[in-house]
Symmetry: C2
Subunit: 185 residues, 2 copies
């Protein structure tokens, strides 16, 4: 048996991401994670201290928001909608935002992490495009639509009602446009 602590930790983190994203925090057992990583369950405690710490280490979100300051003003919403779709439907099957959304439903820790992502990534991005005064309100509105879309599609797994991706992107893009740049009522 070849031994390599770093590789073992990495395998655990990858397996943890996949399992957490599919079943949430409570629905995932350390034994399952260890089994998928082909590693002894006890090593989770040796290397991370426990399930909770493994979760914290495995889930760190970077939305990788595009720089929209050079985008034509009327295309901001569509560009952003496209960005999220590409991330979600992209190559990596275990998108971390899904993990958080699923887990935050019953875990206050994860809920706080979502608010952190909003405050540190979405709000500043909007503040750089629109008036600083309303940035947090606009970010909140964006969150309701984006989280709702992700929840509906990837957590609930609701079929798209035979709507082409393009159309969904277009409609949601319009909404984001209103939330981010149009004047609020």
């Amino acid at each position: 048996m070849t031994r390599d602590a770093e590789a073992t930790k990495e395998r655990l983190i990858l397996a943890a991401r996949r399992m957490f994203s599919e079943r949430g925090f409570d629905g995932t057992t350390v034994r399952e994670i260890a089994a998928h990583a082909e590693v002894n369950p006890a090593l989770i405690n040796r290397y991370f201290g426990g399930k909770e710490q493994l979760f914290a280490e495995a889930v760190s979100i970077d939305l990788a928001l595009p720089d929209l300051s050079r985008t034509k003003r009327e295309d901001i919403g569509a560009t952003l909608a496209m960005h999220f779709f590409r991330r979600w439907e992209g190559d990596e099957h275990d998108d971390l935002l899904r993990v958080l959304i699923r887990t935050a439903a019953t875990n206050p820790n994860a809920a706080a992490r979502i608010q952190e992502v909003l405050g540190k990534q979405v709000t500043p991005m909007i503040a750089s495009l629109s008036s600083h005064a309303t940035a947090s309100q606009r970010a909140y509105l964006v969150a309701t639509q984006i989280l709702g879309l992700a929840y509906t599609r990837y957590v609930i797994g609701m079929p798209t009602a035979e709507m082409e991706h393009e159309r969904v992107v277009s409609v949601i893009g319009d909404t984001l446009q209103r939330y981010i740049v149009d004047p609020l009522p």
Copy 2:
């Protein structure tokens, strides 16, 4: 000790609703439910057959959607947004939709129930107002925004970013208006 099976079942259902809505299905134990209902845990099995059946009995959703056929066409979105807000922030602290949203995050059964509510209550309502052809697509879009709003506010418990309710209702109402009656792109 006074004995009344009906009253006992009722107390169990009420306690179950509250607990499930606060902690979701997995996060709630039958012992907790029984304790809150001041009832012996074994009675859950006697009267309902088990935890799963109690959940099914406790969570039956009726959105009580208003009749929008007589509403002025341009007020449909705002009226609907107002309706949901009133329900959520209303008297009963244990709104059932919250239970479902929270639980559906990790429980396929609950996820199916949400789709059922959408298909049997939202889609027909929209079909009666707009073209039948696009009703299910429009219902899907409405779901992404409404579920996202509920998730953000009541599951994550995210603060409203100092936005007055009126303004939230107004903005969300505009979005619903676009999703329900405006022509799709």
